[in-house]
């Protein structure tokens, strides 16, 4: 890289750094001269898609972000919501897709590390991690390598830092073959009067660097994440960062200890684009200048240039602006935790960022235009191709065989092999572990409050209809939180799409956001934080590139006033098993259609947001007052899969009755109509009466009890057989 550092700065170099000719022209006009090599590096990462959101910003602004319980929406390191008792939940989800393809273990591990820092930098102790993962075709030999590395990486980092990994989701589809998605979410809890923000203030205040030393890892990681892979993707391994969860753990404890004092003015982690983005954003938000002397930056390697230090994405580092009289108090805390602590600069009134190194000024950039003149694109959109209409259906297998195939298929099989590698109990507050309820439930220590946490998205719906898919992802997160009895509060979004330079991808992006906005507004479920990952494409050797399925992953958070009221999937014996919500038998884009008939045709199920809200509010009330004893939303695979999941989650079996629905059995049992819940209650008729009064469709499915799942034709599938089929997929894929 140092040889490269000698190269003259010109448009060709700017292009190599990922800037267009027009963008480089803007750099020249802002600077009034040719920028230095380091300055060009700073512009290129700050104006990368990853840092500037240049293709997405205009559309993100349309999302609803406010509610009475929202304390900080998008714009801070993470979203902050009021959960009562003077406490706040702080949460965000972020992607680490590109690094996870190149180097799955470190890519996933540092994804977890990065999102943890976004949360504890605001003053929260992290209390839960979740992750939404998408992998390629299980039959593709690369998939196994990537699943293995990603799962080990998520576990390796989360287990060591001692934050329980409590939930998430996994899909497989060939569209992710060369571009898996690793979306990591962290949730933390803080006192509302001790929330820390990133806007620097106080001319002359010292700027402190803490955490790990800076090395040459991850240089230009942000730029790499802002372009498509080519056939040389794996050669980009040096742009992947390397994580050290042990240092992260120390950093969490040291920062929280410092945060208990009044020493901090502003704090931000060094994430993508490391020292550059943290210093530029902190000073820029505060409307001040910042002067950094890189000689004082703790360095892991010798001979690093200013360019390398500014663009390094070495992990586990934070930038802090301190009150000047608290420097020694702060230093003592970081000494105790054996972490580097260095005063590397101070705030100025110049409005510029000045980078000094070895007595030279390596960069001097006015901050306001660097932020304000960052490119914004309204890229052309085109309607995506609609799926073929569904052909008339002939069920070739019957519902029993179909159920067996569905619960064993890659998208529905048990994820226990995965989550059993994640420590889900550390902290001692995990009330519902992975798989036990529709959302994970974590108690807020020393209170009766509970947090309900989930991640959701159905990419195949999004491909068929991005607007509907965006709305459905939000609705499903809301539904999963509701199904535990919790009140949904807010979401974080992680928008994973292909190249925005393809009009049909841009169209999907715009439509998905519109759909998300529809659902967020209808459900009072605002977006408080998020992340966009574009250019998720794989280039084939023939030069064509394939986009991933549009995947707007939603991380949802809800609160339970009394965590003891939460319900899960497990049914007691002797309950009436009832279905709430309307069943039309929609099989378009269903798992049944794909797994049994091999078809990805048809329109996805319709979504009526008014019904969603009505049904959900009804169910939540009945959980909170104890009427509903167990609850499961009906999602992928429809009613029969949902009932089978409830049987597998507990001791009781279930005897189903003939539905008398007037529709074909496969449509009734495997249709994926939205806004439905299966509930266990003591008195089904009483529930039906309440539902009728509330205008919520309700029908009886059967009764809990027995040893397995008894179908309407009298045939019983034992619980042991269900479990065996359900748990076969992952070990067979991974442990061979």
């Amino acid at each position: 890289m140092s040889a490269k550092a000698q190269r003259p700065v010109d448009e060709a170099l700017a292009r190599e750094f990922g800037l267009t000719a027009e963008e480089y022209g803007n750099v020249l006009s802002i600077m009034g001269r040719t920028p230095t090599f380091t300055e060009l590096g700073i512009f290129s990462v700050m104006w990368s898609e990853h840092c500037s959101y240049k293709s997405s910003r205009a559309f993100l602004k349309t999302l609803p972000t406010k509610a009475p319980w929202v304390i900080h929406g998008p714009g801070e390191n993470a979203g902050v919501v009021d959960i009562g008792q003077g406490l706040a939940a702080i949460f965000k989800m972020e992607s680490h897709n590109h690094p996870s393809f190149i180097e799955p273990y470190q890519g996933a591990a540092t994804g977890v590390g990065g999102i943890l820092r976004d949360v504890f930098t605001m003053g929260a102790r992290p209390v839960a991690n979740l992750n939404a993962l998408r992998f390629g075709d299980p039959n593709n030999p690369q998939t196994r390598r990537i699943v293995d590395g990603v799962v080990r990486g998520v576990g390796g980092y989360g287990n060591c830092v001692g934050v329980p990994t409590v939930g998430g989701e996994i899909n497989f589809h060939p569209a992710y073959d060369g571009n898996p998605l690793v979306n990591a979410m962290t949730v933390g809890v803080a006192r509302q009067d001790r929330i820390f923000l990133s806007a620097a203030a106080g001319i002359g205040n010292p700027v402190i660097y803490v955490g790990s030393k800076t090395g040459r890892d991850g240089i230009h990681g942000a730029t790499m994440s802002s372009s498509e892979f080519d056939e040389d993707a794996l050669a980009k391994r040096p742009t992947v960062q390397v994580g050290d969860p042990f240092v992260e753990k120390l950093l969490i404890e040291a920062c929280l200890e410092l945060m208990a004092t009044d020493a901090i003015v502003a704090i931000q982690d060094m994430g993508a684009a490391g020292l550059t983005s943290s210093s530029v954003e902190m000073a820029g938000k505060g409307g001040v200048g910042i002067d950094l002397d890189l000689d004082n930056v703790p360095q892991r390697e010798r001979g690093m240039t200013a360019y390398e230090m500014m663009l390094s994405e070495s992990q586990e580092r934070m930038l802090i602006v301190l009150r000047p009289d608290r420097t020694e108090q702060a230093r003592a805390i970081f000494d105790k935790w054996e972490l580097d602590f260095a005063v590397i600069g101070h705030l100025t009134d110049t409005g510029n960022i000045v980078i000094r190194h070895k007595g030279e000024i390596e960069a001097e950039i006015p901050l306001a235009p660097l932020a304000d003149q960052a490119p914004v694109y309204h890229r052309p959109t085109a309607p995506a191709q609609k799926p073929q209409p569904m052909e008339p259906i002939i069920d070739p297998v019957g519902i029993e065989q179909a159920l067996i195939r569905l619960i064993g298929c890659p998208d529905l099989a048990s994820r226990a092999w995965v989550y059993n590698q994640y420590d889900s109990t550390v902290g001692g507050q995990t009330v519902r572990r992975p798989g036990a309820a529709d959302a994970a439930i974590v108690k807020v220590e020393d209170t009766d409050l509970g947090l309900a946490l989930t991640t959701d998205c159905t990419p195949r719906y999004c491909r068929a209809d991005a607007r509907l898919g965006g709305a459905q992802a939000v609705a499903e997160a809301w539904r999963n939180i509701t199904a535990t009895g919790a009140r949904p509060l807010a979401v974080t979004d992680n928008l994973n799409f292909g190249s925005p330079e393809k009009p049909e991808v841009m169209g999907q992006f715009v439509d998905a956001i519109a759909g998300m906005g529809d659902a967020c507004r209808a459900l009072d479920f605002p977006v408080v934080s998020g992340n966009v990952s574009l250019y998720n494409e794989t280039r084939a050797p023939d030069g064509t590139s394939q986009s991933i399925l549009p995947t707007p992953a939603i991380g949802g958070l809800g609160v339970l006033e009394d965590v003891r009221t939460a319900v899960g999937l497990e049914m007691p014996d002797g309950c009436d098993i009832m279905l709430l919500g309307e069943t039309k038998g929609q099989l378009g884009q269903s798992i049944w259609l794909r797994e049994i008939l091999g078809s990805q045709d048809g329109e996805p199920p319709t979504l009526d947001l008014a019904a969603e809200r009505r049904n959900g509010d009804f169910v939540r009330g009945l959980i909170q007052n104890g009427t509903v004893i167990a609850c499961h939303d009906v999602a992928d695979g429809g009613i029969l899969v949902a009932v089978a999941e409830m049987v597998m989650a507990g001791q009781a079996g279930c005897v189903l009755e003939s539905p008398q629905s007037g529709m074909r059995p496969e449509a009734f049992w495997f249709g994926e109509d939205q806004s439905r819940y299966i509930v266990a209650v003591r008195d089904g008729q009483a529930l039906a009466d309440l539902a009728a009064a509330a205008g919520v469709p309700c029908r009886r499915l059967g009764r809990s009890g027995g040893e397995g799942l008894t179908l309407p034709n009298g045939s019983t599938i034992s619980k042991a057989r269900l479990v065996a089929v359900h748990t076969e997929f992952f070990p067979r894929l991974m442990d061979r």
């Binding site: 080990r152 576990g155 287990n159 001692g162 050290d244 042990f246 550390v426 009330v431 108690k443 003891r564």
Partner: protein, 234 residues
């Protein structure tokens, strides 16, 4: 009961342990820092909790075994003090040679976080007195290196002198060390926990401290702590 919990850099289950101890004693345990050189006066029980001390980048527990506080812990042990080591704490106790054997990578070479069933092998110790011999209880486990191993001679001595505290078994108590379903990490003789010769030091891999509240799924781990309180405070 006055309990002290030792915190190394990288320890991460000290809060879980504090919650469990506070729940049965009504008293918050004292947190002791790895660089301290003395234990608080009058301590009835020292606990080495779970985590990844010093990142466990060497062998698990190997660095912690040489931390400054360990000199005081050795002296405390020599005076007949009671010590509980859980997970990383168990690894540290073996590295410090306060307990025999070693913990290798799990047989499947993967981190395992799941519930397991433990059988109580004797009930006349401060750690196990609230169970009956042969009782089986459920407890979470969460570790990458829990595969207990020792020389054949040591294993024989442990077995002959009744120093195996807990074994991994089926819910009905059946043991089969060769069955990965029942003995998930591949430990010799399905050993999940052992005692020192004087029965005052106990190390175990699973986490009874994470199952002491019905809200979290049960109270199966609680007898360990109530038994210690009764034994050590009387």
């Amino acid at each position: 009961m006055k309990a002290a919990i030792v915190v190394f850099p990288g320890t991460n289950r000290e809060r879980d342990m504090a919650i469990a101890l506070r729940g049965v004693t009504g008293q918050a345990p004292v947190m002791v820092w790895h660089r301290d050189t003395a234990l608080p006066a009058g301590v009835d029980l020292v606990v080495l909790p779970g985590g990844f001390s010093y990142g466990d980048y060497l062998r698990c527990g190997a660095m912690a075994a040489h931390a400054p506080i360990m000199t005081a812990i050795r002296e405390y042990a020599n005076r007949g003090g009671h010590i509980l080591g859980v997970c990383n704490g168990f690894q540290i106790l073996t590295e410090a040679q306060l307990l025999p054997g070693a913990l290798l990578r799990n047989a499947a070479l993967r981190f395992l976080s799941q519930d397991c069933f433990l059988r109580v092998e004797r009930d006349d110790t401060p750690f196990t007195r609230h169970w009956a011999k042969g009782d089986v209880f459920r407890t979470p486990m969460a570790h990458g290196d829990g595969n207990y191993i020792a020389e054949a001679e040591t294993i024989r001595a442990l077995e002959d002198s009744g120093r195996v505290a807990f074994r991994y078994v089926a819910e009905n108590g059946r043991m089969d060390a060769g069955d990965p379903q029942l003995n998930p990490n591949g430990s010799m003789n399905a050993i999940a926990g052992v005692f020192s010769e004087n029965l005052r030091i106990c190390g175990m891999m699973p986490h009874p401290e994470d199952l002491v509240d019905p809200l979290m799924g049960g109270e199966d781990g609680k007898p360990l702590f109530t038994g210690l309180v009764e034994a050590l405070v009387g």
